[in-house]
Symmetry: C2
Subunit: 183 residues, 2 copies
């Protein structure tokens, strides 16, 4: 039974806020359940009961933090829209903070859909871009193609090979799917 705005919601909000504050104050690795609980004005047992453990909580917070806040910009062509989006994606995700959030998101319970949610966010953004391109009359590949051959390589490198990852690389990926930049 969901009770939006009720006490539960307030607790969740203050706990999430506490995680943010403490993470930026003392660093993500200094977080502990009792610490977060104190800052949030809650008892530790509340957190343990609702989230199970710190990892679940962090995973939860990470997903919220990874949700895009704005629709992809419109730059007139599919190629430029996608390039811009990919560059921003890379920027946000490859920072130390971004990588930490991604790793946290991956840590949630077995098939708790936290990680899936992240992927869904990206798919949604890409879908907006592709739909817009189609409406303009441009020929556009499928969302899956972009995910497989642009997003996935970026994410792979972010997670497994933090070095050798820059904007030119990202643009090259876009080019390899859409062909070289149009006129």
């Amino acid at each position: 039974m969901v009770r939006p705005g009720g006490r539960s919601a307030q607790v969740q909000a203050s706990v999430h806020a506490a995680v943010h504050e403490l993470a930026s104050e003392f660093g993500r690795d200094a977080l502990t359940v009792p610490l977060v609980a104190q800052r949030a004005g809650v008892t530790p047992s509340t957190i343990y009961r609702r989230w199970g453990d710190l990892q679940e909580l962090l995973s939860d917070v990470a997903v919220e933090r990874l949700r895009p806040e704005t629709a992809p910009g419109d730059y007139g062509t599919l190629h430029s829209d996608l390039t811009a989006w990919v560059e921003q994606f890379l920027d946000e995700m490859s920072s130390p903070a971004g990588r930490a959030y991604i790793r946290d998101a991956l840590l949630g319970n077995p098939d708790g859909s936290n990680a899936g949610q992240c992927s869904a966010y990206a798919a949604e953004q890409i879908n907006v871009i592709l739909t817009r391109a189609t409406e303009r009359g441009e020929k556009a590949p499928g969302v899956e193609t972009i995910i497989d051959h642009v997003v996935a390589p970026l994410m792979y490198r972010i997670l497994f090979r933090p070095a050798g990852l820059d904007a030119p690389y990202a643009r090259r990926l876009v080019g390899s799917i859409l062909g070289p930049a149009g006129p």
Copy 2:
């Protein structure tokens, strides 16, 4: 100062073994340092001193577990070699145990090269396949291309979208890079 075969090596071996055993007995999430220590016949402080914490230890074990034990098979053509390797890769990595190991490997210390090591293993295997193809006179793409457009999409789906991941999908990825299976 490395002392292979010494007490240290034995401790490491029995601790690793204990992790394996307990993980398959009680599940990875039931592991605790004291539990592992007891099974390994060691005191918890030994583990804390050597590995720091449970995550480091699990990350360590995961990398060892993810190391390929055998060179990629030779099936006569690049296409079949790569397809076979990819199918095996998918098999091993997409199982619940495989995914758990990957996640653990990602968890090691900040940029402790554990995750990088995994990526290096894959690159090495692929390199063997591509070199063999080149020696046969086949035209072969670079290692990076295979990583970006075959390994990365697989890994992305393993981590973020466990559903909709099967051998045909993997073969399609290979086909999209090498072209349809040749004679």
